[in-house]
């Protein structure tokens, strides 16, 4: 049964390599995008941490900065 599924009437190598290429491409894109996201998030946290109290207050008044910080704190 398993051999039949894998051999696919002699087309198994073609079919499975097409599916494998697709899934590997998806996984690579996902991890590269995730890495880029984490890198930018880390940069933001470091930059925010180095701000003076006054500047941090101004930065915190922007809603999106608060959103980014709230997500960072969850991680």
């Amino acid at each position: 049964m398993i051999n039949e599924i894998i051999s696919m009437n002699g087309y198994g190598a073609y079919v499975l390599s097409a599916f494998a290429f697709t899934l590997i491409s998806f996984a690579s894109l996902y991890f590269v995008t995730k890495l880029q996201f984490l890198k930018e998030q880390k940069r933001f946290t470091v930059k925010f941490g180095s701000l003076s109290l006054e500047k941090a207050k101004i930065a915190k008044s922007h809603n999106i900065n608060k959103e980014i910080l709230s997500i960072t704190s969850k991680i």
């Binding site: 009437n9 079919v15 996902y30 933001f44």
Partner: protein, 235 residues
């Protein structure tokens, strides 16, 4: 209307949506793979090689859909001068490019057992290759040009100019004699594909669409944080 396009509102939604989209994608992909590789029947002519269709066709559809969206957003960016359109386009492009490459590679793998060749300069394949070049130019332009105003104009021009190729890809099988068969699925009239093959094809298309949404959400958030990083520098 554009208040819904405010970055902080979009960021809040996109951050929360990611885990649900990933979860749904894994479930639908698992069902799709089971249908495509095990349950769906073999073709009377192509035998099991037809199963490659379940990754090749959805990838081609989504890469075309994403490029059309890039072109529409680029027109919107020119008309409404809304920079967020450019940010959305930039976040959509990587998954569109990967889907384009997947369509080309899986098409090539499918070509060997059915046509006896890995590659042919057939109208559909060549026009898909041209689309990949437009995607490449679009992504490269974002990397090369630093000036924000210029890069938005250049990438928008690439997307609008490249969109001319989209109807060519769609109708290439009708306009020229190609190795590709004419469309089997038609929204306006009866489709020639059997329901037992249409079901896995639809499920895989849904899974691929969810994956492109997931990558878009992650990429869009990354771009927003990049913008905010520059904002912190200016404080």
């Amino acid at each position: 209307m554009f208040k819904y396009f405010e970055p902080n509102k979009i960021f809040a939604i996109t951050s929360r949506m990611q885990k649900y989209v990933l979860f749904l994608f894994i479930i639908i992909l698992t069902i799709g793979l089971t249908e495509a590789l095990i349950i769906s029947p073999e073709d009377y002519k192509q035998s099991d090689a037809v199963r490659i269709m379940y990754v090749h066709v959805p990838a081609a559809w989504i890469s075309l859909g994403i490029f059309s969206t890039l072109a529409l957003l680029s027109v919107g960016s020119f008309i409404f001068k809304n920079k967020n359109f450019a940010l959305i386009s930039k976040s959509l492009a990587p998954s569109g490019f990967v889907f384009n490459i997947v369509a080309l590679v899986t098409g090539s793998i499918w070509g060997k057992p059915t046509w006896g060749t890995w590659w042919a300069w057939d109208a559909r394949i060549t026009s898909m290759l041209i689309l990949a070049l437009f995607y490449g130019m679009y992504l490269l332009a974002w990397r090369i040009y630093q000036d924000k105003e210029n890069v938005i104009k250049i990438t928008s021009m690439i997307a609008i100019f490249g969109a001319i190729n989209v109807p060519i890809i769609k109708f290439s099988v009708d306009w020229w004699n190609t190795l590709h068969q004419p469309a089997s699925i038609n929204i306006l009239s009866n489709s020639s594909i059997h329901v037992s093959m249409l079901i896995p094809l639809s499920i895989m298309t849904a899974a691929f669409a969810l994956f492109s949404l997931l990558i878009f959400l992650m990429k869009y958030n990354t771009e927003l944080i990049k913008v905010k990083n520059k904002g912190l520098d200016r404080l």
